[in-house]
C-alpha cells in the first residue's frame, strides 16, 4: 500500500462546507450592513455589536463542547442570573470584590456540578434535567435579590460595558476574552486527546468507554465548566450593564444554542468546530446590528429572524447529508474492489432502514 499523506483535500475537508458557508455569510452580512448604513463599520457600532455578542459567545464555548458529547445545558442563563444577583446582593453587604468573585464562581461550579451529577450519576436525560435546573436556578436567582436592582459597582468594572479592551475603542472586553478562549478551546478540541474524546463520546459513548475514556467524568467536568463560565459571564454582564436585577439574562440560553447550532455543531453530537461557532456568533451579531440599523426592524423583529436562522441551521444539514450520500454513491462507482462494495452497499442500505 502506498504511503498516504494527507491530501490537500483531506486537510481542507474539515473546513469545507459549513464553515465556508458561514464565512461567505459573514462577508454578505458585512456588505449588507455597510449598504444599510455608513455607520455600520463605525467604531461605535462595532463596539455595540461586540458587547451584544461577547457574553453569548463566551457561553457558546462550553455549550459547544457539551453538545458535541451529545448532551445539552439549558440552565446557563439561570446560572448567569444566580451569579449576577449574588454579586449584587453581596456587594450591597459590602463584601470585598475579590471574595465575591470567588463565591460566584464557586456557585457556578456547584450549579454545574448538580447538573452533572444528575446526568452522569443518576443517569437522567440532560434535556429534562437542565429544564428543571433552569427553572430552579432562575427561581433561586429571583429570590436572592427579589425585585431590587443593584447598580453601584465600582470602576473600573463599571466601565466594562463602555470602554474598549486595552483602549481599542471598537473591541469590547467580552469579545477580547472570547477570542482568547475560543483559540484555546479550538486547539483543545481538535488537537488534544481530551478534545478527541469528546467527539468519540458524542458518536459512541459505549465505544469510548471501552477504549478507556472516562465518559462520566468528562461530562461532569463539562457541566461544571459550563457552570463556572456562565457564572463568570454573569459577573461580566452585570458589570457591562452596570446593574444586576430581576430577570437578568433571560432567554440567553436560547440565543447561545442558536449560535452553536448555526455554527454547524450537530445537535446529535459528535460533530462541530469552534471556528464555525465563532463565525456564527459574528454572523448573528452582524445580522442583528445591520437589521436594527434599518429603521424598519426592532429587537422583537429580530427574534423572529433568530428563530428562522435556528431552523435553517438544522434544516440545511439534512439537505446537505442527502447531497453527501449521493456524491458518495457516485464516487463508489469508480472503485474496483467489489467485495468491499458489497459490504458497503449492505451497510449503506442497512443504514437507511
Amino acid at each position: 500500500m502506498a504511503p498516504e499523506s494527507r491530501t490537500l483535500k483531506e486537510r481542507l475537508a474539515p473546513l469545507m462546507h459549513w464553515d465556508t458557508g458561514l464565512a461567505v455569510a459573514l462577508v454578505a452580512v458585512a456588505i449588507f450592513g455597510s449598504s444599510v448604513s455608513s455607520q455600520f463599520f463605525s467604531s461605535y457600532n462595532i463596539f455595540t455589536l461586540c458587547t451584544n455578542i461577547g457574553d453569548l459567545a463566551i457561553m457558546a464555548l462550553p455549550m459547544t463542547l457539551i453538545i458535541i458529547t451529545g448532551e445539552i445545558d439549558l440552565s446557563v442563563a439561570s446560572i448567569l442570573a444566580v451569579s449576577a444577583e449574588t454579586l449584587g446582593a453581596l456587594w450591597t453587604h459590602h463584601w470585598p470584590l475579590a471574595l465575591i468573585f470567588v463565591v460566584c464562581l464557586a456557585i457556578g461550579a456547584l450549579a454545574g456540578f448538580i447538573n452533572g451529577v444528575l446526568i452522569t450519576r443518576v443517569g437522567l436525560p440532560s434535556l429534562a434535567v437542565t429544564i428543571g435546573t433552569l427553572t430552579l436556578y432562575r427561581g433561586l436567582a429571583n429570590v436572592i435579590l427579589g425585585a431590587s436592582t443593584v447598580s453601584n459597582f465600582p470602576s473600573p468594572f463599571n466601565n466594562l460595558g463602555v470602554t474598549g479592551f486595552l483602549g481599542i475603542s471598537w473591541l469590547s472586553w467580552s469579545v477580547a476574552i472570547f477570542l482568547v478562549l475560543a483559540v484555546i478551546t479550538g486547539v483543545v478540541l481538535r488537537r488534544t486527546p481530551f478534545g478527541r474524546s469528546l467527539f468519540a463520546i458524542g458518536l459512541s459513548q459505549e465505544a469510548a468507554f471501552h477504549a478507556g475514556m472516562r465518559v462520566k467524568r468528562t461530562k461532569l467536568l463539562l457541566f461544571v465548566l459550563s457552570g463556572v463560565v456562565a457564572a463568570a459571564v454573569g459577573l461580566l454582564y452585570a458589570f457591562e450593564l452596570s446593574s444586576a436585577g430581576e430577570n437578568i439574562g433571560i432567554g440567553f440560553e436560547l440565543q447561545v444554542i442558536t449560535i452553536v447550532l448555526l455554527g454547524g455543531v450537530s445537535i446529535f453530537g459528535g460533530k462541530g468546530t469552534i471556528l464555525g461557532v465563532a463565525l456564527a456568533a459574528f454572523v448573528y451579531a452582524g445580522l442583528r446590528s445591520a437589521l436594527l440599523l434599518t429603521s424598519s426592524f426592532n429587537e422583537n423583529d429580530f427574534e423572529v429572524v433568530s428563530g428562522g436562522l435556528l431552523i435553517l441551521s438544522v434544516l440545511i444539514p439534512n439537505a446537505a447529508s442527502f447531497v453527501q450520500r449521493a456524491r458518495a454513491l457516485m464516487r463508489r462507482g469508480q472503485m474496483r474492489d467489489r467485495r468491499k462494495l458489497l459490504a458497503l452497499a449492505d451497510a449503506e442500505v442497512l443504514d437507511r432502514e
Binding site: 494527507r6 468491499k340 449492505d346
Partner: protein, 548 residues
C-alpha cells in the same frame, strides 16, 4: 482432535461441527443423533416462493447476479455464504425492501411485485431479522398486532379478541407467554418468539429467519427448532440463514450457496457434507492449521475468587505469558461478564484481579489498560469501534495519550501510526480516512485488534474474536492470536465456536451458570468433554481438577 461421535444422549448444543471426512454421508455418523423429522409431504410441484434470475446492483456494483431460489411449502431451506456474498440483499428482496433490477419473484407460480415491506407482509412473507425490534413499552400482544389490531364497532381496538388470538398462536407454537406482559425485559429468545407470533398472526406462508440462533442458548435453540418444525409440518416455507453449518444440517432439507453475488448451488441437502458447503462458500479447501507449541512463561493474569452476585461466582484462573487460554461455555454462562469484570467495564463484588503481580483496581478500564490489558469486546459495532470515525481514528483511539507531543496531537503522527498498524494486520480499506463503517466485518475486527495491539499489551482479552467474520479472515485472526502467544503475550479468548477453541487454545476453561466447572489441557480436550462440562452432563472421564 477428539472423536466425533457423540455418545451422550443430550442433544448437542450447536457448537459442534459435523465431521469433515467424506465418509459420513448418512445420518449414522452425524453427531446430531436426531434424524430429520418427517415434515409435510414436500410439494415438488410449485414452490411457494420462487426467485428467478434475480440481479441487483447498487451504484454499478453487482450485489446479486442471476440468482434463483425456490422455497417449497413444508421445507426448511438454508441460505449460506460468506459475508458479502449477497445473502442480506437476497433477503431484502424477498422481504420487499429492495426491488430486483432483473428477474422475477413468483408466488405460487404467479409473478408478484413487492413495492415495499407492506406488500411483502401482505403477500404472506415474514422476515425475522437478527436483532428483533419490538416496542419495549407496548405489551406482547400489541407488539404482535401493531397496526393490525382487531377492531370492534367504531374502529375501536378489541383487546379481548387480541389477547385471545395471541394466546391461540402461542398455544400453536407450544409456548406460554402472557400477552399482556410488557415487551421490555424480554430475552432475545423471547423476543424472537414474539416476532414469530407476529409472522403467524399475519398468516405468513413464508418465514425468513436471518441468523436467528446467534444469541440463543442451546435450550432456546432447541425450542426454536421445535417451533420451526411445527411450522414446517403445518406447511410453511422456511428460509434459514446461518453461519453455523451444524444447524443447517440439523434443520434444513435444501440449501442454497451464494458466493460473490452468484449462485453456487441450490439443491437438496441430502448427500452434501460440511466440506462441500464450505468449498461452495469459499471456493477453495480450507487448510487445517498446525498448532504451534509455545512454552508459557510467568503468570500475567491471576484471578482469585472473582464473584458478582447473580452473575458469576468464585472464578479463579490464571493466564501465563505465551499461552492462549480459552473460556468456553454456553451463551449466558457468564464468560463475557467475567472478562468485562477483569477489564473493569463491569464491577464485581468479591475477589481480586492481579496483573503481573499487581492488584488491579476494580471498575476502571484505565487501570486495566495501564497495567497492559487490551480488550476486544463481543459487540464490535457498539463497543469496539466508533463507527463514524475513520479507520485511522479508530486505530489511534486507545493510544492518544501516548501519541501526543507537548500535549498536542499532530495529524502526521497519527497517520503514520495508524498506517503502520493497519499494514501489520493487513487491514483492507479504501482510504484510511474513510469511516470504518465502510469496511467489511472482518476488516473491522482487524481494526479493533490493531487498536489494542498497538498498545503492546501483555494480556489480550478477546471476546468472540471471529463472530460474524468470513472464513478467510477467521483464519487470519487465528493465526494472529497464535503468533501473539508466540511473542509472549498472554491471551484470554472467549469463544462459543468449539472448532476455534480446539484449534487455537493451549488450555480450555469451561464455565457453566457462572462457575468454572472444568479445566482442560489441549490434549485432554474434545468437543464432547467441553460440551459435557458446559451443559452439566455427567462427566465420565477425568474429574474436574484444581487450579492449573
Amino acid at each position: 482432535m477428539g472423536c466425533c461421535v457423540s455418545s451422550s444422549p443430550s442433544w448437542p448444543p450447536v457448537k459442534t461441527m459435523p465431521p469433515s471426512s467424506p465418509d459420513t454421508t448418512n445420518g449414522a455418523n452425524d453427531p446430531t443423533p436426531r434424524k430429520q423429522p418427517p415434515g409435510a409431504p414436500r410439494s415438488e410441484a410449485t414452490p411457494v416462493l420462487s426467485l428467478q434470475g434475480a440481479a441487483k446492483a447498487f451504484a454499478g456494483v453487482h450485489a446479486l447476479e442471476g440468482v434463483s431460489l425456490d422455497l417449497y411449502a413444508g421445507e426448511a431451506h438454508a441460505l449460506v455464504g460468506e459475508n458479502g456474498a449477497g445473502k442480506s440483499t437476497l433477503v431484502k428482496i424477498l422481504g420487499g425492501v429492495h426491488q430486483p433490477d432483473e428477474g422475477a419473484l413468483l408466488m405460487d407460480g404467479r409473478e408478484i411485485v413487492l413495492g415495499g415491506t407492506a406488500d411483502a407482509r401482505a403477500a404472506g412473507i415474514a422476515v425475522i431479522y437478527q436483532e428483533p425490534t419490538l416496542f419495549p413499552d407496548l405489551s406482547v400482544a400489541e407488539n404482535v398486532f401493531i397496526g393490525r389490531q382487531p377492531l370492534r364497532s367504531g374502529r375501536r381496538i378489541d383487546y379481548r379478541a387480541m389477547d385471545a388470538e395471541v394466546n391461540r398462536i402461542f398455544e400453536r407454537l407450544g409456548v406460554q407467554m402472557d400477552p399482556d406482559r410488557i415487551a421490555r425485559g424480554l430475552s432475545i429468545a423471547e423476543q424472537q418468539l414474539v416476532e414469530i407470533a407476529k409472522a403467524l398472526s399475519s398468516e405468513a406462508k413464508v418465514l425468513i429467519m436471518d441468523e436467528p440462533t446467534a444469541a440463543l442458548s442451546p435450550v432456546e435453540v432447541e425450542r426454536l427448532f421445535r417451533i420451526t418444525e411445527t411450522l414446517r409440518a403445518e406447511g410453511s416455507a422456511i428460509l434459514f440463514i446461518s453461519h453455523r453449518l451444524e444447524e443447517v444440517f440439523a434443520l434444513c432439507q435444501r440449501v442454497t450457496i451464494l458466493r460473490d453475488g452468484k449462485l453456487v448451488l441450490s439443491q437438496k441437502l441430502e448427500g452434501l457434507t460440511a466440506d462441500d458447503l464450505i468449498r461452495g462458500m469459499v471456493g477453495r479447501d480450507l487448510l487445517l492449521r498446525e498448532h504451534e507449541q509455545h512454552t508459557p512463561g510467568d503468570a500475567v493474569l491471576e484471578v482469585d475468587g472473582l464473584t458478582r452476585e447473580g452473575v458469576f461466582a468464585d472464578i479463579s484462573l490464571e493466564v501465563r505469558a505465551g499461552e492462549v487460554v480459552a473460556l468456553a461455555g454456553l451463551v449466558g454462562a457468564g464468560r463475557s461478564e467475567v472478562a468485562r469484570a477483569i477489564f473493569g467495564i463491569d464491577r464485581y463484588d468479591a475477589g481480586s484481579v492481579r496483573v503481573g503481580g499487581e492488584t488491579l483496581r476494580r471498575g476502571s478500564p484505565i487501570t486495566a489498560m495501564t497495567a497492559g490489558i487490551g480488550f476486544v469486546p463481543e459487540d464490535r459495532r457498539q463497543h469496539g469501534l466508533v463507527m463514524d470515525f475513520s479507520t485511522e481514528d479508530n486505530i489511534a483511539l486507545a493510544s492518544l495519550g501516548r501519541l501526543k507531543r507537548y500535549g498536542l496531537l499532530f495529524s502526521s503522527d497519527e497517520r503514520e501510526f495508524s498506517l503502520d498498524w493497519a499494514k501489520r494486520l493487513q487491514v483492507k480499506y479504501g482510504r484510511i480516512s474513510n469511516p470504518v463503517s465502510s469496511l467489511s466485518g472482518g476488516n473491522q475486527q482487524k481494526v479493533v485488534l490493531a487498536k489494542w495491539l498497538s498498545r503492546e499489551p501483555r494480556l489480550l482479552i478477546v471476546d468472540e474474536p471471529t463472530r460474524g467474520i468470513d472464513i478467510g479472515t477467521k483464519a487470519e485472526v487465528h493465526r494472529l492470536l497464535s503468533s501473539l502467544a508466540g511473542e509472549g503475550v498472554a491471551v484470554l479468548m472467549i469463544s462459543s465456536e468449539l472448532p476455534e477453541v480446539l484449534s487455537v487454545a493451549d488450555r480450555i476453561l469451561v464455565m457453566r451458570e457462572g462457575r468454572l466447572v472444568a479445566r482442560l489441557t489441549r490434549e485432554e480436550a474434545s468437543e464432547e468433554r467441553i460440551i459435557a462440562a458446559a451443559t452439566g452432563a455427567a462427566v465420565t472421564r477425568n474429574p474436574v481438577e484444581g487450579n492449573h
